[in-house]
Amino acid sequence: MSELAVHWRWVAAGWLEVVLAYGAYAFYLARRARRAGCREDER
């Protein structure tokens, strides 16, 4: 594999981890917002 291809793989990995982290945190916030809309009622 050429040096250029290796560099681009690292660049893709660096950006992908940022995108995945943002996505994961947004997903966590969405779940937590849904949970905050619930409450436990005693019977």
Partner: protein, 242 residues
């Protein structure tokens, strides 16, 4: 029994902010991956710098805002300041963690190592550890006022470490590159500076979106816990409809 309630809708401004952030993130990524010229030393690897530096700077901002709301809580004692401080601390932890991970991915191909106990890296790891400690300590204290006070002090301690973290790259010339953008001058090509500042702006928008949503959730959770407390207080004489 768990009863489902309608979650209040996100306000329109927050939805618009979220959507704008996604669009601008795509523009920032295009600028970094396509428009930015390659670096004379690092070649194409410089494109990772835009992602890494922007999340690192925003983690600093989140820590400063955590400390400011912590100070406000110590001064006025209003629960909303604690809610805002916690929201910022959570996002500061997220960005500090991402700074460490993206820094390692950037460091491996450029400096030939994943990690070294360089002053700046160590201080960033310490900042992350203190932020994790912030939440560990919060989990150990039941009284909300005491919990808010203790965590406010931790938030301030983390903020005090920031100037040392920022200047460590200039004071200790080891593996981490020195400051490209400093008060004393800018040592980066204008075309790259524009792309960097654009991506920092986008990361700041991501922070604003996340923190606004996290504060909204914090307020909802506070409201729910107050409702629960009221129900528990009135429970003995109350006729509960099922």
């Amino acid at each position: 029994m768990t009863q489902r309630h309608e979650t209040p809708r996100r306000p329109l401004w927050l939805r618009v902010l979220g959507l704008s952030t996604v669009v601008l993130f795509a523009v920032g990524a295009y600028l970094a991956l396509v428009v930015s010229p390659p670096d004379v030393n690092q070649g194409q690897l410089i494109r990772m710098m835009y992602a890494h530096v922007s999340v690192a700077w925003v983690s600093f901002v989140a820590v400063i805002v955590t400390a400011l709301y912590g100070m406000a809580f110590l001064w006025r004692g209003r629960p909303i300041d604690d809610t805002r401080a916690v929201a910022n601390a959570e996002i500061a932890t997220f960005f500090a963690g991402l700074t460490l991970v993206s820094g390692m991915t950037y460091s491996r191909p450029t400096l030939n190592t994943w990690w070294t106990w360089d002053a700046k890296l160590t201080l960033t790891a310490l900042m992350f550890a203190l932020l994790v400690g912030y939440f560990v300590v919060r989990g150990l204290i039941d009284d909300p006022t005491r919990r808010g006070r203790v965590s406010a002090v931790i938030g301030i301690v983390v903020a005090v470490s920031l100037p040392f973290n920022y200047l460590a790259a200039a004071w200790f010339r080891t593996l981490h590159p020195t400051l490209s953008v400093a008060v004393t001058g800018v040592h980066i090509a204008p075309s790259m500076l524009f792309v960097l500042l654009f991506n920092v702006g986008v990361a700041a928008l991501v922070y604003l979106t996340f923190v606004s949503e996290r504060i909204r959730i914090g307020k909802l959770e506070h409201q729910r816990s107050e409702e629960r407390e009221r129900r528990e207080e009135g429970a003995p004489g109350e006729v509960v409809r099922v």
